[in-house]
């Protein structure tokens, strides 16, 4: 083995320490918000997710981690039917929100997405003003009263820790903000409609460390008000922000994504039950 492959363990120890500290403050049993039971997902004939079983607790932060191609984004996007535009995408098994199946003939993806908001990897504000960016979802929901719109927009921007930076330029284009501000704008846009769940698909991967820190603080602040599910490449981030962590891996033979281990973040980082989790956390692959 070459020397560079083996990383010293203190890194993992550091993560574990942070996670343990978080766990002490946030240990409590929660109601299940989203649950996957024997959930499979296909792109055409390719099986991207294989037998996922997972219960995501309400009001807490759950992180999905794993190496590239392990299906964590696929799983996240399955939760709000974002694959609907992809030809050949289909799901089997059960995926539920509050016990109601997400994939069924009665379920309406549009109504579902009004309950499950999403923040994307790259900040994607609309080519509209800051105000209209946040107000858009509210208008989609049918709010026409301009006073109530303004109140809610301010509330969402405050909640996203962006109000002080943009209150004097609400009419500026959303795309004229910095990358970190754009991402907080997208978070404001998402929470403005008060979704029950906020999905975050690597929300900091395009951001600098300071903006990343602000987003992480924001996640901590939003915790409790929303059920947050965050996909991240960054293990330290998962340890810092999440209460529960799901570790996923791609099956080397079928290339399907599988859930290896799911548990409280502190436990998963300090004493992983699966040898593969331990190997990943100590930097052996991925």
């Amino acid at each position: 083995m070459s020397e560079t492959r083996t990383r010293p363990l203190p890194l993992a120890g550091g993560i574990a320490a942070t996670a343990a500290a978080r766990a002490r403050t946030h240990e409590r049993p929660g109601k299940t918000k989203i649950e996957a039971v024997n959930f499979d997902f296909y792109y055409g004939s390719f099986k991207a997710l294989d037998q996922i079983n997972l219960a995501i607790p309400e009001g807490e932060v759950t992180a999905l981690i794993g190496p590239s191609g392990c299906g964590k984004s696929t799983l996240l996007r399955a939760m709000n039917c974002m694959h609907a535009r992809t030809p050949g995408a289909r799901a089997t098994g059960l995926l539920t929100i509050d016990g109601e199946p997400i994939y069924s003939d009665e379920a309406d993806p549009i109504l579902l997405r009004r309950r499950i908001g999403m923040v994307f990897q790259r900040p994607n504000p609309f080519a509209k003003s800051v105000f209209d960016n946040v107000a858009y979802g509210l208008r989609v929901l049918g709010e026409r009263n301009s006073k109530r719109l303004a109140e809610r927009v301010e509330w969402a921007l405050r909640r996203a820790a962006l109000w002080d930076e943009v209150k004097d330029r609400l009419n500026a284009t959303g795309t004229s903000l910095s990358g970190g501000q754009q991402q907080r704008l997208c978070i404001a846009r998402t929470i403005a409609v008060e979704p029950e769940v906020v999905l975050m698909d690597e929300p900091c991967s395009a951001l600098d460390p300071i903006s990343t820190l602000k987003i992480e603080e924001l996640i901590a602040d939003l915790r409790g008000s929303f059920t947050i599910i965050i996909v991240t490449h960054n293990m330290q981030q998962a340890a810092r922000v999440s209460d529960h962590t799901a570790f996923m891996l791609m099956d080397p033979e079928t290339r399907a994504g599988q859930l290896v281990e799911f548990g409280p973040t502190a436990q998963l980082f300090t004493s992983p039950r699966d040898a593969r989790t331990e190997a990943y956390l100590s930097g052996h692959f991925g």
Partner: protein, 331 residues
């Protein structure tokens, strides 16, 4: 065992040698030459039409543009006179009709092709649209005369002229021949439709997917996604496509000549024969023996040149305006 750190050797004779840059200079000059040729062509067209129309400009001055009488042959009732207004008016009106009909339709087709069309249909339909753009205009004219004119007379012109036309002068009948502004504008609309829809489709397909996803994730319906995020993002390009179509309609000669009736009388109703600048030049220039007649036709060409230039500038301005507004990434 070979040293794993040894770098495989390559023949890098040019790494330190100063390169001669003849190739760069040559290529720069070549491309510069072609680029200048474009400017040269525009200037040449301007100069030729300007000098060629000297006699007409000397005789009429600016009033050439709004002179309403175009009489190349002297009769007892009308003296010889050349005024460009009937042709300019015909050009503008037929293009306006074409634009009103083709812009919404073309944009709708583009939206369908890009956003709503099932994947299986997208390729063949897109191919058909591009095929429509490739049909020579004389074929459109021929089809217009032989097939479309009668149908248009029976189903559009006469019903309108006999009902609304009784009260609205610009829709008035009676319509004897199936030649006029309205049918020309309609055929022009069909001709520019593929341009508008193909450009709209391309512009919409260039809209990044994350814009659609952002909209979808807010619980927007398909329509809201298209109208609220995708189309606004692409609007500068769509306006450009519409203007490109308008340019084609303004300059269209063959189909217009065949369908417009080539009458230099100004009639109020759009169902009556009229003429366009391009059609008038094309039909009369070969027989223009009188120097003033020839000069006036060239003056008309100059006017058409000016109109297209002006409209293109306006279009540029519009595109620039929408692009620098809150319209996303820099253009």
């Amino acid at each position: 065992m070979a040293d794993a750190n040894a770098v495989p050797r390559i023949t890098a004779s040019r790494r330190w040698a100063r390169q001669t840059r003849h190739g760069d200079v040559f290529f720069w000059l070549l491309t510069l030459f072609f680029a200048l040729m474009i400017i040269g062509l525009v200037v040449a067209v301007g100069v030729v039409t300007y000098t060629g129309s000297a006699a007409a400009r000397a005789a009429y001055g600016w009033s050439f543009l709004w002179g309403t009488e175009w009489n190349p042959v002297e009769t007892t009732l009308y003296p010889v006179s050349f005024g460009a207004w009937p042709a300019i008016r015909g050009t503008l009106l037929s293009s306006l009709i074409a634009l009103i009909l083709a812009a919404p339709t073309g944009v709708a087709i583009g939206i369908f092709l890009s956003e709503l069309c099932p994947l299986r249909l997208r390729q063949p339909l897109g191919f058909m649209v591009e095929l429509l753009a490739a049909i020579p205009s004389v074929i459109y004219g021929l089809w217009g005369v032989a097939v479309f004119a009668n149908w248009f007379n029976d189903w559009v012109t006469n019903p309108i002229a006999e009902s609304v036309g009784q009260f609205v002068p610009w829709l008035a009948g009676p319509v004897a021949v199936s030649r006029g502004l309205a049918i020309t504008g309609t055929i022009l609309a069909i001709m520019i439709l593929p341009t508008i829809s193909a450009i709209t489709r391309d512009m919409l397909q260039a809209v990044p997917n994350h814009q659609r996803e952002a909209m979808l994730s807010l619980g927007a319906t398909r329509w809201e996604v298209i109208w609220g995020a995708v189309v606004p993002y692409a609007r500068a390009g769509i306006v450009g496509g519409i203007m490109l179509g308008l340019g084609r309609a303004l300059g269209e000669t063959m189909a217009a000549t065949m369908l417009i009736g080539n009458s230099t009388r100004i009639e109020e109703s759009i169902f009556y024969p009229a003429t366009t600048a391009a059609a008038l030049v094309a039909s009369e220039l070969p027989n223009a023996n009188d120097p003033l007649h020839e000069s006036s036709l060239i003056g008309l060409a100059l006017a058409l040149f000016g109109i297209t230039l002006l409209l293109n500038l306006i279009a540029r301005y519009l595109v620039w305006q929408t692009a620098r507004g809150p319209a996303g990434e820099k253009v």
